[in-house]
């Protein structure tokens, strides 16, 4: 973890603690990147379309997608898992792979994306995304 990611993580952690104190229960494991709506440096960002509107979800770290929901100008109840179209890898260090776990066979399918700052279609993982992992 480089300094930028570490500093951002600390800031995000502080924000979570503050939100937890002020606003109510926040899962300790929740990862929402820097908490800003933009896809900023260091984040792993997923995208979904609703008509012409881009829905977003950002992460700092490796994560299962179950339990996470989309941001569409406000929080939604729409799950990220099995419902994403694009990914942008702004990780400062490495590739990110996005995976689909087949319930039928227990076999993972992974598609690898470089940290090139660009928005890429998930391809065969589109709407089948179960998890992403950094640096593997």
């Amino acid at each position: 973890m480089n300094v930028r990611r570490w500093v951002s993580a600390v800031a995000a952690g502080a924000a979570l603690v503050t939100a937890g104190v002020v606003g109510g229960a926040v899962p300790a494991s929740a990862d929402n990147g820097d908490g800003d709506v933009n896809c900023n440096l260091g984040e792993i960002c997923f995208w979904r379309y609703s008509n012409a509107v881009l829905w977003t979800k950002q992460f700092w770290y490796t994560a299962d997608h179950g339990g996470y929901t989309w941001w569409a100008g406000g929080a939604t109840n729409v799950r990220v898992q099995d419902d994403a179209v694009d990914v942008t890898n702004r990780d400062t260090q490495c590739n990110v792979r996005v995976g689909d776990l087949s319930a039928a066979t227990g076999i993972w399918t992974w598609r690898y994306f470089p940290n090139d700052q660009l928005r890429h279609e998930l391809g065969v993982i589109r709407n089948a995304n179960d998890r992403h992992e950094r640096c593997v």
Binding site: T105, I107, W108, T109, R111, Y112, F113, E121, G123, V124
Partner: protein
């Protein structure tokens, strides 16, 4: 990995002998133990749900340049069917680890990993898109 090493030495020796006696044989050719069927230690690809067209490897390999072996119960020879982008199933009999099979398209790799459990798996989204396989990744 003693078994694999022994097989590798034997395979290289056989290839060297064949090259010396017969004709040009690609030094990098990998056909597992050069026998039909999927033996212990081999990574095996299948053209369909039958066994007529099969291809065995010991090691990591790009699939370009490899053709399925034809086997009808008697003859075992190279067929005219390419392996690349043309396989349906895989059996991983690697003695150490899982094998991933990949499709390179649109500038990105998609990999599907298969355990070394001797079962024959459909390649799924890699079906007829297989470009390469890698051990222990």
């Amino acid at each position: 990995m003693i078994a694999r090493s022994v097989r590798r030495v034997a395979g290289v020796a056989a290839l060297a002998a064949a090259a010396a006696v017969l004709a040009p044989v690609a030094a990098y050719a990998d056909n597992g133990d050069n026998l039909p069927g999927c033996a212990n230690g081999e990574i095996c690809f299948w053209y369909d749900n039958g066994t007529t067209y099969q291809k065995q490897f010991w090691y990591d390999a790009d699939h370009g340049g490899n053709n399925f072996m034809f086997y009808d119960g008697f003859s075992y020879r190279v067929s005219d069917k390419p392996v690349q982008d043309n396989a349906l199933n895989v059996t991983n009999r690697d003695t150490s680890c899982s094998v991933r099979v990949g499709d390179f398209s649109g500038g990105f790799w998609t990999w599907r990993s298969f355990p070394n459990n001797n079962a024959e798996y459909n390649l799924g989204v890699i079906n007829n898109r297989n470009d390469r396989h890698e051990r222990c990744k």
